[in-house]
Symmetry: C2
Subunit: 194 residues, 2 copies
Amino acid sequence: MQDHAARRPYHHGDLKNALVLAGIDILETDGLPALSLRAIAARVGVSHTAPKNHFGSLRGLLTAIATEGFGRHAAFMQAGVSDLSEPQARLHAAMEGYVRFARDHPALFSLMFSKEHCEMTDPALRMASAESYAVLAGIARGLEWDKADTPNAQRRTELLLWSIVHGYAELSIAGFAGEELPIAAIMPDFRYRA
Amino acid sequence: MQDHAARRPYHHGDLKNALVLAGIDILETDGLPALSLRAIAARVGVSHTAPKNHFGSLRGLLTAIATEGFGRHAAFMQAGVSDLSEPQARLHAAMEGYVRFARDHPALFSLMFSKEHCEMTDPALRMASAESYAVLAGIARGLEWDKADTPNAQRRTELLLWSIVHGYAELSIAGFAGEELPIAAIMPDFRYRA
DNA sequence: CACTGTATATTTACACTGGAAATATATCTG
DNA sequence: CAGATATATTTCCAGTGTAAATATACAGTG
C-alpha cells in the first residue's frame, strides 16, 4: 500500500488526466484546429508519443476529452437548476445552461458531438453523454404535450426538447442564430400535469 | 466569342467547379477526414497547389463546397414540398427533407455547419444558407403559436423550427437520436391562421 | 503574325502532423 | 537482487497545407 495523496506511481504520475486537462486548455484558448497530439503532449511536458500508452491514438485522447466535456456539461446544467422549484423555470434554466455551455466553450462543445474526431461508440463517452441527457430528461418528466397518448410519448418529448436546445446551440455557435436570445424566447409553452 | 459547350478557355477549363464536385465526391465516399487538398486535386488531375488560384486556401475550397452543399440542401427540401398544399404537411415535408439530407449526406452536412473548416462569414456561403433558411421560413409563414404577440414573433417561430430540425438532424448523425423516427413524430402541433 | 501582359498551373521546398518500431527507464513482483 | 511489466522516449516515415519561384497557355494589341 502506498501514500494516497502524494502517490506518484510512474514517471509522470497522472498523465492520463493531465493530458485531458491540457487538451481542454488548448481547446479553450486556441480552438479545435490547434488540438494536436504534439501540442497537448508539449503542454504536459512529455513526448508526443506518450499519449499512445493511455489512449491508443489521437482519436482516443479526443474521445476522452469529449467525455470530460460531457461531465462538465451536465454539471453546468444542474447548477442553474438546483435552486428552482417551478417546473417550467427548471426546464428553461437547464436548457439555458445547455446553450450557455455551448457558447462559452464552443470548441469543446463541437468536439463532443463530432463523429469526425470522437469515437461515438466509446462506452465511457456514451455513459457521460447519457448523464447529460438525464439532466434534461429528469426535468422533462411530467411534461405534457400534444401527443401524450402516442407510444413512447415521454421519449419523444425528451427528444424534442433535446433537439430544440441542441439545434439552437449549434446554430448559435455557427453564427446562424443572430442576436443571442435566451432559449426561453423561442420555446413553445409546454404544460405540466398537476 | 467562343464555342459555348466545348469551351476550354484555359488549361483545364472549369477547374473551379471541377474541384468542388470532386470534393463532394470524396466527401460522399470517404468522409470529411479524407477531404485533403491533395486528394481533391489528384481526383481532378491537377497539382495540389492548383486550387490556390481559385480558392486561396483549403479553407476557401471547403467553404465553396459547403456553399454548393447549401444549394443542394435547399433543393432537397423544396423537392418534397412542391406537390403538397396543406400547410402542416408542407412544413413536415420540408423538415423531413432537411433531416433526410443530413442522414444521406452526413459528411457534407457536417461541413456546411463547421466553423472549424468553413469561413462562415463568406458572402456566397451566407447567401446560399439564407436560401436554405428561406425555404423553411416561407412555409412557416402564417404559422401560429403561443407567443404570436411578442416582438419578432415570426422570426422566433422560424428560429424554433430551424432549431428543432437542425438539432434533430445533428443528433441523428452523431448517433444520439436512436431509431430514425420521422421528424413529424416529435413535432409539436402548430396551428395555422385561417 | 509577333509582342506583351495576365491568368493559370507546376515544381520545389518547408514546417508541421499522427503513427509505427525500437529503445530506454521506472516501477512492481517474486 | 533479478525478472517482468508498465511507462515514456527516440527515431523515422508518409502524409498534410502553404509559400515562392517557375513554367505554360491564353487574350489583347500592334
